[in-house]
C-alpha cells in the first residue's frame, strides 16, 4: 500500500513548486493579455479623471472666485497631528482628522489641499485650529491670517508646527 513512498515524497516536492494542473487552466499569454487590458482601462479612467477635474474646477471653482488652502508640516516637527479645522470669514469651511498614513505623507513633504472654495475679492480672515499631541500631552493652537483675494485664483499655504503656524500667500 505504501510501496510508492518515493512517489509520495516527489509529490510533496511538487507541492512546493506550484499549483498542480487541474480543470480549467489559463495560459501565460491569456493572463498577460488580460493584464494589458487592465492597464489600458486604467489609462482610460485616468483620462476621464483628468477631464472631470478640469470640468469640476471650471464649474464649481471659477478662477475669479477660487480659493485653495494647502497644508504642510514644518521641517523636523515630531508632534502627532490629530486634527485641523479652518474657518474662512468666521465660518467653518473644512476640518480633517488625520490617519497615520496621512501624517506620514505630510512628514515626507506632501502638501494637502484641505479646502477649495469660492470667495469674493477683498480681505478675508482665515482661522486655523490645530490639535495634536506632543510629549504625551495634548495641545491646541489657533492662529489667524488674512487672505487677500484679487482677480484670479487665490492659493495659500499654512505650515503646521507645534509652536507657531506659518502662512504663505502663493
Amino acid at each position: 500500500m505504501f510501496g510508492g513512498l518515493r512517489t509520495v515524497i516527489l509529490a510533496i516536492a511538487m507541492l512546493m513548486l506550484g499549483i498542480p494542473a487541474y480543470g480549467e487552466e489559463f495560459s501565460k499569454e491569456q493572463m498577460k493579455g488580460l493584464d494589458e487590458q487592465v492597464q489600458d482601462i486604467k489609462a482610460d479612467v485616468l483620462g476621464i479623471a483628468a477631464q472631470l477635474t478640469r470640468l469640476e474646477e471650471k464649474l464649481l471653482y471659477p478662477s475669479d472666485t477660487q480659493v485653495a488652502v494647502f497644508l504642510s508640516l514644518a521641517d523636523g516637527e515630531e508632534f502627532r497631528l490629530d486634527a485641523v479645522e479652518i474657518q474662512l470669514g468666521g465660518k467653518p469651511v473644512a476640518d480633517h482628522l488625520y490617519s497615520f498614513k496621512e501624517l506620514e505623507a505630510l512628514q515626507k513633504g506632501g502638501r494637502q489641499r484641505l479646502y477649495t472654495g469660492n470667495i469674493t475679492t477683498g480681505d478675508h480672515e482665515l482661522q486655523v485650529t490645530l490639535s495634536g499631541k506632543s510629549g504625551g500631552s495634548d495641545f491646541l493652537r489657533t492662529e489667524h491670517f488674512t487672505v487677500s483675494k484679487g482677480v484670479g485664483p487665490k492659493i495659500v499655504e499654512v505650515t503646521l508646527a507645534e509652536k507657531s503656524l506659518g502662512f504663505k500667500d502663493w
Binding site: G23, I41, T53, G109, G110, R111, R113
Partner: protein, 634 residues
C-alpha cells in the same frame, strides 16, 4: 499563527518558479521623494497622495498638472517649471507602482533617455526592471537592467544586485547569477536569501555538490530576524528533501531536524524527518515527528499525510489495533475536511470568494492573506494559502481589486455628472430671467461711459497741445466767457460814444489780463483736475471690468457644458462596461484558480480516504488474526 501566515506569504511570493528564487519582501512603494524646496503646491499635492500609496489620485493630479503645463505658451513662467524633470519622472514612477508598466515604461524610458543624473536614471531603470520581473517578463527585465550604467545610489546597490541575480536565474542564466549572489552573501539586507538563491543557482547550473554546500551552510546561519530564520528553514527543507529523493536518509534527517518546530516549514520538515526514519525501517523513531505533526492544523497537506503515516508506522510495528483505531480517526477527519472543501468550492462558485476579496475590510497590503482569513463567510483559506501567496494569484487579485476601485470611481462620477447637470439647470433658471434687464441697463451705462471717456480723451489732448502752444482762452472760466461775450455785444451795439468805448476797452483789457496772467495756475489746476478724473476713471474701469467678468461668469456658469458632460457620460458608460467585462474575466480566473486548488486538495483527500479504508480493513484483519494466534498459543 498570524506571524506564520505572513512569513509564508513572504517566502512563497514568486515561488511558482523556483528558478526565480526567493525575495525577502516585495516592496511596492515608489521612489520619488519631495524636493527640498517645493515651488508648486499642486505637485506637492500629487506627492501627498503618492506617499499614502494612493496611486490613482496621485497620477490623476499629476497628469492634470502636466497637461496644463505643456499647454502653456511660456511654461518656464509656471511654478511647475522648477520641478518638471522630477514630475515627468514621478508620473512614470507612480504608474509603475500602479502596475501600469506599459505606460510607465514609455514615460520612464523617456526619462531614462533624457539628460538625468546617473543615480536618478539608474533608479528609474531598476524600478522598471523590477516591475517587468514581477509581471513575469524576465527577458524584458534583463534587457532593461543591461542599461544600468554609472553611479547607483548606495541604498539601492544590494536591491539592484539581487534583482539582477533573480532575473538572470529566471532567464536560466544560473552561472551568471552565482557570482552576484556570492557577493551579496555578506550583506545584511539579503542575509540568508542570497545564500539560498546561490545554492539553488548552483544546483540548477549543474554544480550540485557546491550548491548543496551553500544550502547546508545557509541552513546553519544565526539570526534573530524572522524572515532570515524562515529562509534558513527553507534551505534545510529543500536540501533535506533532495537527500531523501536520493536515499540519503541519515543526512536528510539531520538537515530536516534543523528546521524550527514553530516555523512555516516545520510541517513538511516533520513529515520528511519521519520518512527518513521510515525508509530505514525505524518506525518507532518515525512516530516521534509524525505524532507531533498529526496533532497540528488539519488543513495542512503534510498533517493530512501524517494522519495516514502514523497508523502506517504502528501497523509496521505490529500494533494493528492501534493502527486500526487511528485509521478510523483519519477517515473521519478526512470526511469532515472533504465536506468543508465541497462547501468551500460551492461557496466560491456562488461568488462569495470574490465578494470577500473586494470587501471593505480587505485592503491591499502585506497582510492581506491574514485579513482574508479573518473574514467571516470566507472559504477555507488555509487550503488556499500557497495559492494566494503565488505570483499569478497575487497579480490577478491586485488587478481585480484595482478594477473594483475603478468600478466604484466610475459609479461615483456618474452621480457627479447628474449633480453637475442639476447645478447647471438651477443656475440657468436663476440667471436667464435676470440677464436681459441687466444687459439693457448695462448697455445704457456703457454708452454714457464711452461718451465721458471720449470727453476725457479730448481734454487730455487739448492740455497736451497747450504745453507747446499756450491757449489762455481755453482756460477762461465760464463767467469770463460770458463777460467777454457781453462786452463784445455792447461794443457791437454801441452808438458813437468815445467814453463808453474806452470803458469797454478797459474792461476787455482787464479780462484778457486776468486770463493771461492766471494761465499757468489755471493750467496746473486743469492738470490736477485731469489727474483726479483719471483716478475716478480707473475706478470706473475696474468696476466695469469686474462687471464684465461677473456677467461672463454668470453665462459661463451654465453655458457650454452640455457637450462636455455628454462626452464624459459616454466615456464613463463605456469604461464601466469594459471594467465590468474585465472584472468578470479576472474574477473568473481567480475563482478557477481557487476551485482548482481546492478540488486538487479534495481529490487528494479522497485518495487518502480510499487508502485509509483499505488500511483500516487490513489492520482489523491483522489485529483479529493476531488476536486469534494469541488465543491459539494460549
Amino acid at each position: 499563527m498570524i506571524r506564520l501566515l505572513v512569513l509564508i506569504t513572504t517566502l512563497l511570493f514568486a515561488s511558482s518558479a523556483l528558478a526565480a528564487g526567493s525575495d525577502p519582501a516585495p516592496k511596492e512603494a515608489a521612489c520619488t521623494t519631495a524636493p527640498r524646496e517645493l515651488k508648486d503646491l499642486y505637485y506637492g499635492e500629487a506627492l501627498y497622495y503618492a506617499f499614502q500609496g494612493d496611486w490613482f489620485d496621485s497620477i490623476a493630479r499629476l497628469d492634470t498638472e502636466l497637461w496644463q503645463y505643456h499647454g502653456l505658451d511660456e511654461p518656464q513662467r509656471d511654478s511647475l517649471f522648477q520641478h518638471i524633470d522630477q514630475a515627468e519622472f514621478a508620473v512614470g514612477d507612480f504608474e509603475l507602482a500602479y502596475r501600469m508598466h506599459q505606460r510607465a515604461g514609455r514615460a520612464i524610458t523617456a526619462v531614462i533617455e533624457g539628460n538625468l543624473e546617473e543615480p536618478v536614471r539608474n533608479t528609474a531603470i531598476f524600478r522598471l526592471a523590477r516591475l517587468y520581473f514581477r509581471k513575469d517578463q524576465p527577458v524584458q527585465a534583463l534587457h532593461i537592467l543591461e542599461r544600468i550604467d554609472g553611479a547607483v545610489p548606495a541604498e539601492l546597490r544590494e536591491d539592484l544586485a539581487f534583482l539582477h541575480a533573480q532575473t538572470l536565474m529566471a532567464n536560466g542564466r544560473f552561472a551568471d547569477a552565482a557570482p552576484i549572489l556570492r557577493q551579496l552573501q555578506g550583506g545584511e539586507g539579503y542575509a540568508g536569501f542570497a545564500g539560498y538563491n546561490l545554492g539553488i543557482a548552483l544546483i540548477k547550473d549543474g554544480q550540485e555538490l557546491e550548491g548543496r554546500q551553500y544550502l547546508d551552510r545557509n541552513g546553519l546561519i544565526e539570526s534573530a530576524v524572522p524572515a532570515t530564520l524562515a529562509i534558513r528553514d527553507k534551505s534545510n527543507l529543500v536540501l533535506g528533501e533532495k537527500l531523501l529523493e536520493e536515499d540519503g536518509y541519515d543526512g536528510a534527517k539531520q538537515v530536516l531536524d534543523r528546521v524550527r518546530l514553530d516555523g512555516p516549514f516545520s510541517n513538511r520538515a516533520l513529515l520528511g524527518s519521519g520518512w527518513a526514519d521510515a525508509f530505514q525501517g525505524r518506525f518507532e523513531r518515525a512516530l516521534v515527528p509524525w505524532s507531533i505533526l498529526a496533532e497540528r492544523e488539519i488543513t495542512d497537506s503534510a498533517v493530512q499525510e501524517a494522519l495516514l503515516a502514523v497508523p502506517y508506522a504502528y501497523a509496521k510495528l505490529g500494533v494493528y489495533s492501534k493502527a486500526a483505531v487511528l485509521y478510523g480517526r483519519a477517515l473521519q477527519a478526512f470526511g469532515t475536511e472533504v465536506d468543508k472543501l465541497d462547501a468551500s468550492i460551492a461557496s466560491i462558485r456562488e461568488g462569495r470568494f470574490l465578494q470577500a476579496l473586494v470587501g471593505e475590510e480587505l485592503k491591499q497590503d502585506g497582510n492581506w492573506v491574514v485579513k482574508l482569513r479573518q473574514l467571516p463567510e470566507t472559504p477555507e483559506t488555509y487550503y488556499l494559502l500557497d495559492l494566494m501567496a503565488s505570483h499569478d494569484f497575487q497579480e490577478s487579485l491586485k488587478n481585480y481589486l484595482d478594477l473594483e476601485e475603478l468600478r466604484k470611481k466610475l459609479a461615483t462620477w456618474e452621480g457627479d455628472l447628474d449633480a453637475f447637470e442639476e447645478l447647471i439647470r438651477l443656475r440657468r433658471a436663476y440667471y436667464e430671467p435676470l440677464l436681459p434687464e441687466i444687459d439693457s441697463q448695462f448697455r445704457r451705462l456703457d454708452s454714457r461711459m464711452r461718451l465721458r471717456l471720449e470727453q476725457r480723451d479730448h481734454i487730455e489732448k487739448r492740455l497736451q497741445a497747450m504745453l507747446t502752444a499756450p491757449r489762455p482762452d481755453y482756460l477762461a472760466t465760464a463767467q469770463e466767457r460770458i463777460l467777454k461775450e457781453q462786452l463784445a455785444q455792447i461794443d457791437q451795439d454801441q452808438v458813437e460814444d468815445g467814453e463808453l468805448e474806452a470803458r469797454i476797452g478797459r474792461l476787455q483789457g482787464v479780462l484778457e489780463f486776468n486770463i493771461h496772467t492766471d494761465y499757468d495756475r489755471r493750467l496746473t489746476e486743469a492738470y490736477q483736475h485731469l489727474h483726479d478724473l483719471n483716478r475716478l476713471i480707473d475706478a470706473l474701469q475696474k468696476q466695469y471690468a469686474a462687471f464684465v467678468r461677473v456677467r461672463q461668469a454668470a453665462t459661463q456658469s451654465y453655458q457650454g457644458y452640455d457637450e462636455t458632460i455628454r462626452r464624459q457620460r459616454s466615456r464613463i458608460g463605456e469604461a464601466r462596461e469594459t471594467v465590468a467585462t474585465l472584472m468578470a474575466r479576472q474574477g473568473h480566473i481567480l475563482e478557477v484558480m481557487a476551485v482548482n486548488e481546492l478540488s486538487s486538495r479534495r481529490d487528494r483527500l479522497a485518495e487518502y480516504q480510499i487508502k485509509a479504508r483499505f488500511s483500516l480493513a487490513d489492520s482489523y484483519d491483522r489485529a483479529a488474526r493476531a488476536e486469534g494466534l494469541k488465543k491459539v498459543e494460549q
